[in-house]
Each structure stands twice: as structure tokens, then as C-alpha cells.
């Protein structure tokens, strides 16, 4: 009988799990009975590009830098990144006003705004459907026992690098089969001194007593 190593089984299981997540996202609830959400799974090379790009945004967005640096570490162990996207214009004809235009036709006629993160203005309900698909994928990952987190930073980096083509708004789910959950409590990225310094800079009043009180 052939012996299969655990490492290979974990990788194969992860590959299958990613397919299941895409399936769950594909069949998730959406408004207006339309299925326009696109989904791709990116490989290690693309994840490396995304990580570098997100890290390079440090000056503009510390959050993106943190996630970029985190992704660089994450790809050393079995992991996958699913990116979801959809077009911004409304084909729903709800005329709900959430986008700031009275009718869907007005939204679709409005001037398009380009940026690195998304193209706007976008239909609120298209966005909700996109994120419901994202959550359905994350929910499937959770049920399958994978480590999982939803990232908008990595999705926006993939959008800027044009890794996911022909979409205007994006979201992403990252899953991992690492030995311990890498997505939460990520304390290894800073020292205690750095943390203390940043905390006292951001929340200077935290340790301050009542003005005029004798300590």
C-alpha cells in the first residue's frame, strides 16, 4: 500500500478546499438574482508580487504594509489567496439612492474615477453581493478547519497590479494550512519597545491622570 506523506495530503486538501470555497462563493446569495462575481486563485509568484507591492505602500497605508510583510511570511507554508471582483455599474435597477445617484441609470452615466484601489462610483448592492460571496468562501474555509482571514488590502494590491482583470471593485480571502493560525495575534512583527512607543504616540492621554491631580 502506498504511503502518502502528511505534507502532500495537506497540500492536496488545501487545493481541494480552495475549489470548495470558490464553489460556495459561486452559489452564495446575491441581490437581483445575478451572478457576476469573478473569482481567481493566485499562485505563489503572484502572491509574492502582491506582498511586495502592499509592503511598498508603507508610507500611504501602514495597514497595507503590515499585510504585505505578513504575506511574505505566509507563503513559506501551504496557503492560498482567492481574489473576488465585480464590475462597478449597476445592472439591478433598484434605484435605491445608496450610491448617491437617484437612479441606476444616473450612476452608470456618472464619470468614472480611476485609482489604485478601485474604480468608482460603484453600486452598493453589487458591492454587498461581492462581499457576500467573499464571506461565503470564508465561511466554507472556516467549516473545513482552515486558517482564514478576509483582506481588502491584498485584493486592492492585486487590483493595482492588474492580476485580476476586468473588474472594478475587489475583495480577497486568504487561507492557510500552517501549523498554527498565522492570521491573528501577529505579535512577531514588532518588538515590545516599538509597540510601547507607538501606543504612547497614538494614545498619549492613556497614562495621563486628571490634570491638576497630585500623583
Amino acid at each position: 500500500m502506498a504511503i502518502i506523506e502528511m505534507k502532500d495530503m495537506v497540500q492536496a486538501g488545501l487545493d481541494r478546499a480552495v475549489e470548495m470555497m470558490a464553489l460556495a462563493a459561486h452559489n452564495s446569495y446575491r441581490f437581483g438574482n445575478r451572478n457576476t462575481v469573478k473569482c481567481i486563485s493566485v499562485g505563489k509568484e503572484e502572491m509574492e508580487q502582491i506582498a511586495e507591492f502592499a509592503y511598498s505602500l508603507g508610507d500611504m497605508s501602514p495597514l497595507a504594509a503590515r499585510d504585505g510583510r505578513f504575506l511574505r511570511d505566509l507563503i513559506k507554508e501551504p496557503c492560498a489567496l482567492l481574489i473576488f471582483g465585480d464590475k462597478r455599474k449597476s445592472d439591478l435597477n433598484f434605484n435605491c439612492g445608496a450610491c448617491g445617484y437617484r437612479t441606476c441609470a444616473e450612476l452608470n452615466r456618472a464619470e468614472e474615477m480611476e485609482s489604485l484601489t478601485a474604480r468608482g462610483p460603484s453600486c452598493q448592492f453589487k458591492n454587498i453581493s461581492l462581499n457576500i460571496a467573499t464571506n461565503a468562501a470564508a465561511s466554507m474555509a472556516w467549516r473545513l478547519g482552515l486558517h482564514c482571514r478576509v483582506f481588502s488590502t491584498l485584493a486592492m494590491a492585486a487590483f493595482a497590479l492588474q492580476i485580476i482583470p476586468d473588474v472594478d471593485v475587489v475583495a480577497s480571502v486568504c487561507v492557510s494550512a500552517a501549523k498554527v493560525d498565522p492570521f491573528f495575534d501577529r505579535h512577531k512583527f514588532w518588538t515590545q519597545e516599538h509597540w510601547d512607543e507607538t501606543f504612547s504616540k497614538e494614545f498619549p492621554t492613556f497614562t495621563r491622570g486628571f490634570i491638576g491631580a497630585v500623583e
Partner: protein, 225 residues
């Protein structure tokens, strides 16, 4: 012959199960992810039959306001069959943009977004946009968490943005609510949210009952007794 005791018990237990299920769905929706871990959504349970009727009437009334909202009459008919309605809100999308300059609203930066004039509230406007899309997207996670839990528990559900908009107009949700969607649930043998014929607002179980049993039978009875 009067209805059997065990049947009455079943009806009471069915209603109790809706109350419990609504609270479990609320738990699932509340613990679903939020971007940046910032609290954003609240979930309100409407389970009183009279309150559901009020909501349905408001939805029905809104159908006249906008040509795109004709389906609201059908939604109202479905809501009347619901055992409970969970109203999910987004509290930050109107007043507190996410400050990440994502451009999903089309205003490039959140500073520009703050300067944009909002749609005035009034007939034909469901939400006074533009909303912070990035913030409002949190609601997608809450909606899906409620749906996933309902599916897991085997509870029939329907998602209605019409009822969400109506709940905002009825002011039964917090003041800061900018975006609102409702999930109706039902514990019955046939889901009232599936297999919806055309003209369901005119021809549904309630109107059939009203026309055929409540009108024809008493007449038949007076004539043939």
C-alpha cells in the same frame, strides 16, 4: 371538532422555535467579521405579528413611489408570511467614512466624500447616499452570516432590501443608520420565500383564503342551511 391539543402544542412550539432561531441568527450575524475589527452593524428582531404587518404595509406603501419598486408589493406579501424579520443596519456608512481613500464611492479620497451633498430624504429615495461603500460592505458579512446560520439550522429565509428601507423610514433602527437590509425567516413546512408566482401580491395564500373560504363558504352556508 376543535383542533387537537397536540396540534395546538405544535403551533406554540413552532413559534417558540422562531424566537430561539432569530436570536441564534442574531448571534451569528453579530460575530461575523468587520473590516478593521470596528463595530458597525446592529441587528434588530421584529417578531411581533402586528409589527411585521406594519413593516409590510410600509413596504407596500413605498411601491408607489418609484417605478423600479413595483416588486415591493410582492415583498410585502412575502413579509406577511414571515415569522420574524431580522433588520440588519450599518451605522457608520453615512456619518463616519473609513478614511482609507478606497475610491469605491468614486470620490478618490474620504475628504472629497465628506464634501459631497447627500441625496435629500423623500419619496423615491431609499437610502440617502452616497454612502461609505467600504463601511457598508461590512453588512454583507452580517447578512451572509445570518444566511449561513439559517441554512445550517434548516430555516427558510428571504433577503429584502425593501423591508430594510422601510424599517429606516419607520425609525425602528438606530438614528445613524445609513444602510439597512432585512432578512425574513420562516419555520413552516413550505418556504413562503420560494416558488413565488407572478402577481403574488394579488394571488397568495391570504387572498385565496379570503376570497374562497371566508367569502364563498359563509354565502354557501346561508343559502344551503
Amino acid at each position: 371538532m376543535s383542533i387537537e391539543r397536540s396540534m395546538k402544542q405544535f403551533e406554540l412550539d413552532r413559534k417558540e422555535s422562531v424566537r430561539l432561531a432569530a436570536r441564534l441568527l442574531l448571534a451569528s450575524g453579530t460575530t461575523s467579521p468587520r473590516v478593521g475589527g470596528v463595530g458597525e452593524c446592529t441587528i434588530h428582531i421584529v417578531e411581533d405579528e402586528c409589527e411585521i404587518e406594519e413593516l409590510a404595509q410600509k413596504v407596500e406603501g413605498m411601491a408607489e413611489e418609484n417605478t423600479a419598486w413595483k416588486t415591493f408589493r410582492r415583498d410585502a406579501a412575502m413579509l406577511r408570511d414571515a415569522d420574524a424579520v431580522l433588520v440588519i443596519t450599518s451605522l457608520r456608512c453615512l456619518t463616519d467614512p473609513a478614511d482609507i481613500n478606497c475610491n469605491m464611492c468614486g470620490r478618490l479620497t474620504c475628504e472629497y466624500y465628506r464634501q459631497v451633498e447627500r441625496l435629500p430624504a423623500g419619496p423615491g429615495v431609499a437610502y440617502t447616499g452616497p454612502l461609505c461603500v467600504f463601511r457598508a460592505n461590512n453588512m454583507a458579512y452580517a447578512i451572509d452570516a445570518v444566511i449561513q446560520q439559517a441554512r445550517t439550522m434548516g430555516i427558510d429565509y428571504g433577503v429584502f432590501w425593501s423591508a430594510g428601507a422601510a424599517a429606516m423610514r419607520m425609525k425602528i433602527v438606530p438614528r445613524d443608520t445609513g444602510f439597512c437590509v432585512a432578512v425574513a425567516i420562516s419555520v413552516t413546512e413550505k418556504s413562503p420565500f420560494r416558488d413565488i408566482p407572478v402577481k403574488y401580491d394579488e394571488m397568495n395564500e391570504r387572498t385565496m383564503n379570503d376570497r374562497i373560504i371566508k367569502r364563498l363558504w359563509p354565502q354557501f352556508r346561508s343559502i344551503y342551511s
